[in-house]
């Protein structure tokens, strides 16, 4: 066992960090690292978990709740993806919660991208088969779905702004796909 002080701390190499692409009407950007939690729990545990996380976990399909720099995305009837952009790890917030649940840290599993601009929905619709009109996919709506040949989690955080989450090794494909699509959607 070595002495901690002597060990150089490993540098973090987020994949494609800061990579951007702009076309008329749509901009793609790879987001800075976030804290992420894959949370699973039965209904009866939600109150305690919501309290610990500092936001009310959404209970209805395709919806999310955002408070400050933290969002909880409904992915399935007992599944949430909690994303924190403010540097506070939601995994730690759940560590002391005693009610039945499963909390697994997935901060490094996913890469976040933003798709913004008036043609953002058209850009995503190059490969996402869901109806992304505001009526069908309003601000705050979120869903696991697909983009071309990759699985993504899609969150609409404003009328013309989406967050795309994909697994790390798919980010190359997703970024290239969105770039190609943004060029066409413009």
């Amino acid at each position: 066992m070595a002495k901690a002080a002597k060990i150089a701390t490993a540098a973090r190499s987020p994949i494609f960090a800061g990579r951007e692409f702009s076309a008329d009407g749509a901009k793609i950007a790879v987001l800075a690292p976030s804290h992420r939690l894959a949370l699973r729990a039965p209904e009866k545990s939600l109150a305690a978990l919501s309290k610990a996380l500092g936001l009310k976990l959404p209970a209805s399909p395709k919806s999310s709740v955002t408070k400050g720099s933290r969002s909880a995305l409904w992915l399935g009837p007992d599944e949430w993806l909690v994303i924190d952009d403010g540097g506070k790890d939601p995994l730690e917030d759940c560590a002391r919660v005693k009610v039945l649940h499963s909390a697994v840290g997935v901060s490094h599993r996913n890469v976040g991208l933003s798709v913004t601009g008036p043609r953002a929905a058209e850009t995503l619709n190059a490969g996402c088969p869901q109806d992304l009109s505001l009526a069908a996919f309003p601000v705050g709506a979120c869903s696991r779905t697909i983009l071309g040949k990759a699985e993504i989690v899609l969150l609409r955080n404003a009328e013309d702004s989406f967050r795309v989450e994909c697994w790390r090794s798919f980010s190359d494909y997703v970024l290239a796909f969105l770039t190609d699509a943004a060029t066409d959607a413009a």
Binding site: A2, I7, A8, A10, D131, K149, S169, F170, T183, D184
Partner: protein, 995 residues
């Protein structure tokens, strides 16, 4: 370069000139022309040679139904598009087109001999003639036929263009942008719902392009259409897609549209060439119009013979006269309108030949009043001229004296066929309307409605009434408000009804003339009768025997004629003979459009690990493992693969090696019932596994065969870190979720994929502990504190790690899991430490060799879905006291416990230098007659530098009973002698795990 057939003051094109070439000859046309209208403006009718007989062919139509005028358009060496319809291709400055299927030239084509010897090429000819010798089909017949027949030549360079795609959703989708489609879209759009309207032409307007008699809302039809389109374009809820063909109508109102984005541009400016739209609509309005049919008579394919509505389009829209002395042959009124328009534009009308005995009505009267000769009760029985029609021969229907009238173009119309293609694709059933002799939409299968000509509605005013009502109704049903707009008022319009089907006079039952039914596939009326004579009864059989309607135009002009002739020959009614099935695509769709974004790097995701860049910098050669790129081996200067792998294998056992194992699947199993769940999904016992310890787990399918394997670490009583094979990651997760959700939902446990959360660096070899020790905090790495098969959480290089003490080499080893973004830095730190001990980086090939030296199996290589744990020598991994796990019952199936099953063994070749081929078969006696009795096969085979000889694993019937036996692996060079041995070749006692 003068356009001698352009008529001043006619047409709607700008005066901007566009130069183009056809077969190398320069011409000029106008911006807005199609290639066809520009050629006609220059007096060019001859544009191609036919498919089978190489007959000269001209321009039949002015739209998508064109069967004849197929040309190649070439932008550059890689951008050559064959079989482009000249009637659809818009002219652009510098367009270069050439004719097809002719050699050496269009006017003199050697292949024309096929026309002379055509009796040889009757329907079914291929099936009858080229039957034997069988071998000649591939070597002789097919290549010759393929080069002589056929259409254009496909480009031989990769397609440099790019293509795009879009999913779209709307409440009302209108297919077709004629007057009907526009009216329906207007009615729907004004309710506020999302409307998409598409049309295959460059501009919406449909028949208003030529229908000179139309007046709507105080404007002529075309002006009304353009004003209405402008109104639609100004609405946010409307998407207008011109140059867009609805090619396929699929389940639940899912419609495929192909948009041609740049085919009309001289400079595509980086835009995609075509765009695929996949539209989901609540309601679909079919406004697909009708297609005019030609007349069936002898030599009706001569250049200059064309549909009446096409000639009218060329005149009224493009300002082009298709001739100077034009004949008309018809059986309905609409062709009269063409004659009248031409006459008024100063074009000579030689005569109108009308099959009807007593044609009457305002159009007929007007023709008479303009002094046009009308020959009623007569038919055209032949034409003069070869490269261009020069005369028509007119004869009374019942026979009698024929008369030849000189013409330089002959307009034909036998009536209109409603375009029910998309309706039929929607699985709607068409019904035959006996009164008007046409198939019309009958029962609907989806939420769609047909309006206008495709619905058999003949008059413009009725069409607009119907379309407006349909648009309003569809929008309302799809959630729109009540329509607010005002219905367009039709002041005048034309009526497109009547006509005939089948062969005309002179092409009847006993005639052997070439009266074409299907121009593109060279099918004549005689061919269809022959098919019936040869026993074809159903129209589906007639179609396949004659190829009628099977060309790229899918019989848009020919199907009804073919059907009528078949029915007449069979002595049956048309509905009894049936209609062939309409299938997608409506017109051909390019592969580029279908593939769209999915080309090159976007064909399939390429997945790379966190250490990929490091490996690349250090010279790694990569191999594809599913979607992953994995470092295969790391050759040093001068090393080939063999040398590199040998060095890597040697170094790992001498000191240590670093290996990127990040691609392994990882699943975190969390919850109070985690151990219970593991007990059910794996053969092994888990309840008693201490937190901090690991176990090699085997997963079976219910049938008892090995499905996956991997090391599982218990992090806490309620938390397991499960690893799977790289290739099995997704399906193992699915398999586990399936059982958890549907068979064991009572268990309180959840699964989370963490495959990509953790980068995994395997440090293997006698010096592995020395390499990681200086970087690790909070974890005691001594054998006592952290024995083989244990797991600890702590820190390495200051970042969190899940550190496994485990080995896939048989030597002391660790697998360092760190959050993926730290993978590269931790690898580099471990590499720096490793350098102090002479360690190497090794790739998947060395990994394979090292594990094979120890007899460790790879699921999917040494197993194939029919191997049980016992077969693989892994019985020890089954919890003997367990009463349930997936596969427990399957394992007791009679075949799985029968003697003589194939079992995992080792093979040593008699000559230690011979490396067996993986997949090779094993036999007991190499001198037995073929086919030999195969008793096993080689699953893994390598040169082992550490053993100084070749090694192999095999599955062999009764293998464990055969230790020491000599068997044979027959190969082309002769049988290879092998000795059966234990699958463990290296360190059989396993001492090195702690060495």
């Amino acid at each position: 370069m003068t356009e001698s057939f352009r008529i001043a003051g006619r047409g709607r094109l700008s005066s901007r000139t566009a130069r183009f070439s056809f077969d190398g000859k320069p011409y000029a046309g106008l911006s807005g022309d199609t290639l066809a209208s520009a050629l006609l403006a220059n007096g060019v009718h001859l544009v191609g040679r036919s498919f089978k007989y190489h007959r000269p062919r001209g321009i039949l139509s002015a739209g998508a139904e064109e069967p004849n005028a197929l040309v190649s358009v070439e932008r550059d060496a890689a951008r050559k598009t064959p079989n482009v319809r000249a009637t659809v291709q818009e002219l652009y400055e510098g367009l270069s087109a050439s004719s097809q299927n002719r050699w050496p030239s269009l006017a003199f084509d050697v292949g024309e001999v096929n026309d002379v010897v055509s009796p040889m090429f009757s329907a079914g000819f291929y099936y009858k003639t080229f039957m034997w010798p069988k071998a000649a089909w591939k070597s002789l017949y097919e290549p010759v036929i393929r080069s002589a027949a056929g259409l254009g030549v496909a480009p031989d360079l990769p397609d440099p263009d790019h293509y795009a795609a879009r999913y779209a959703h709307c409440e009302v989708l209108v297919l077709g942008g004629g007057a009907a489609g526009i009216a329906a879209a207007l009615a729907a759009a004004e309710t506020g719902v999302r409307v998409v309207i598409c049309d295959e032409q460059a501009e919406l307007g449909g028949a208003m392009r030529y229908e000179a008699g139309a007046a709507i809302d105080g404007q002529d039809g075309w002006a009304w259409a353009q004003a209405s389109v402008a109104k639609l374009a100004a609405m946010d809820n409307v998407t207008i897609l011109p140059r867009t063909t609805a090619f396929g109508y699929y389940a639940q109102n899912f419609v495929g549209l192909a948009e041609r984005v740049t085919e009309h541009l001289a400079d595509p400016k980086g835009l995609p060439r075509e765009r695929l739209w996949q539209v989901r609509a609540r309601r679909v309005i079919l406004a697909t119009g009708a297609i005019e049919r030609h007349m069936v008579f002898a030599d009706n394919d001569r250049p200059g013979v064309m549909l009446a509505s096409a000639a009218r389009t060329y005149l009224n829209h493009y300002g082009v006269a298709v001739g100077r002395n034009v004949g008309v042959y018809t059986a309905n009124d609409s062709a009269y309108a063409a004659a009248l328009d031409l006459k008024k534009a100063g074009v000579g009308i030689a005569a109108i030949v009308d099959l009807r005995d007593n044609p009457a009505g305002p159009l007929v009267d007007e023709a008479r009043s303009l002094g046009i000769d009308i020959h009623h009760g007569r038919g055209v029985v032949g034409v003069g001229g070869k490269l261009r029609v020069s005369s028509m021969t007119v004869q009374p229907k019942g026979g009698g004296a024929a008369r030849t009238i000189p013409v330089d173009a002959l307009l034909v119309s036998s009536g209109w066929t409603p375009s029910v293609h998309l309706f039929s694709q929607s699985r709607g059933k068409v019904v035959f309307d006996d009164a008007t002799k046409r198939f019309l939409p009958g029962n609907y299968a989806q939420d769609c409605v047909s309006v206008g000509a495709c619905n058999g509605t003949d008059s413009l005013s009725a069409t607009l009434d119907q379309a407006w009502a349909a648009g309003a109704k569809a929008a309302k049903e799809a959630g729109g408000s009540v329509a607010r707009g005002t219905k367009p008022k039709v002041e005048s319009g034309e009526n497109f009804s009547g006509g005939v089907l089948g062969a005309g006079p002179g092409a009847g039952a006993d005639k052997t003339v070439k009266a074409f039914v299907d121009f593109q596939n060279d099918v004549t009326a005689k061919d269809i009768r022959l098919a019936v004579r040869e026993g074809m009864r159903s129209i589906e059989h007639v179609k396949r025997f004659t190829t009628n309607g099977m060309a790229t135009d899918q019989g848009k002009t020919s199907n009804m004629h073919g059907l009528a002739i078949a029915a007449e020959t069979l002595g049956k009614d048309i509905p009894e003979v049936g209609l062939t099935t309409f299938r997608a695509p409506y017109t051909p769709v390019t592969f580029g459009t279908i593939v769209n974004h999915g080309r090159g790097p976007l064909f399939d995701p390429t997945r790379r690990t966190a250490t990929h860049d490091w490996a690349q910098k250090h010279g790694a050669v990569f191999e594809d493992v599913g979607q992953w790129k994995r470092a295969w081996y790391f050759p040093k200067a001068g090393e080939d693969m063999h040398a590199a792998v040998n060095r890597e294998c040697r170094t790992v056992r001498e000191t240590a090696g670093l290996f990127d194992a990040s691609t392994l699947g990882k699943i975190e199993v969390v919850g109070p019932d985690a151990a219970k769940f593991m007990e059910l999904l794996y053969t092994n016992p888990w309840e008693k596994l201490e937190p901090g310890r690991c176990r090699y787990g085997i997963m079976l399918r219910e049938d008892g065969f090995i499905y996956d394997d991997g090391v599982v670490g218990r992090l806490a009583p309620d938390r397991f870190h499960v690893t799977t094979t790289t290739g099995g990651a997704a399906r193992v997760m699915n398999h586990m979720e399936d059982y958890l959700q549907t068979e064991f939902p009572q268990l309180n446990v959840w699964l989370t994929s963490v495959s990509e959360q953790w980068a995994v660096i395997a440090v293997q070899g006698p010096n592995s502990r020395k390499i990681i020790e200086p970087l690790v905090e909070d974890i005691d790495l001594s054998d006592e504190a952290m024995p083989h098969m244990s797991v600890r959480e702590g820190k390495i290089c200051g970042v969190p790690t899940r550190l496994f003490r485990m080995s896939f080499t048989g030597d002391r080893g660790f697998e360092v899991n760190v959050p993926a973004d730290y993978g590269q830095a931790v690898w580099e730190a471990l590499w720096a430490e490793g350098q102090k001990h002479g360690a190497c980086a090794y790739g998947t090939e060395a990994m394979h060799v090292l594990r094979a030296e120890k007899g460790y199996i790879i699921v999917g290589q040494d197993t194939d879905g029919t191997v049980t744990p016992n077969d693989a020598g892994l019985d020890w991994a089954i919890g003997k006291k367990k009463t349930d796990f997936v596969g427990i019952r399957g394992l007791t199936r009679p075949d799985l416990v029968a003697p003589g099953r194939k079992q995992l063994v080792g093979l040593k070749t008699k000559d230690p230098k011979t490396v067996l081929e993986e997949g090779a078969q094993i036999v007991a006696n190499p001198r037995q007659p073929i086919p030999m009795t195969m008793i096993g096969h080689v699953t893994s085979s390598y040169w082992s530098e550490n053993c100084g000889r070749s090694i192999a694993l095999a599955l062999l019937a009764g293998g464990r009973e055969r230790m020491g036996e000599t068997l044979f692996v027959p190969m082309p060079e002769g049988p290879i002698e092998v000795e059966i041995c234990s699958p463990v070749f290296f360190d059989e006692k396993g001492g090195r795990l702690n060495g």
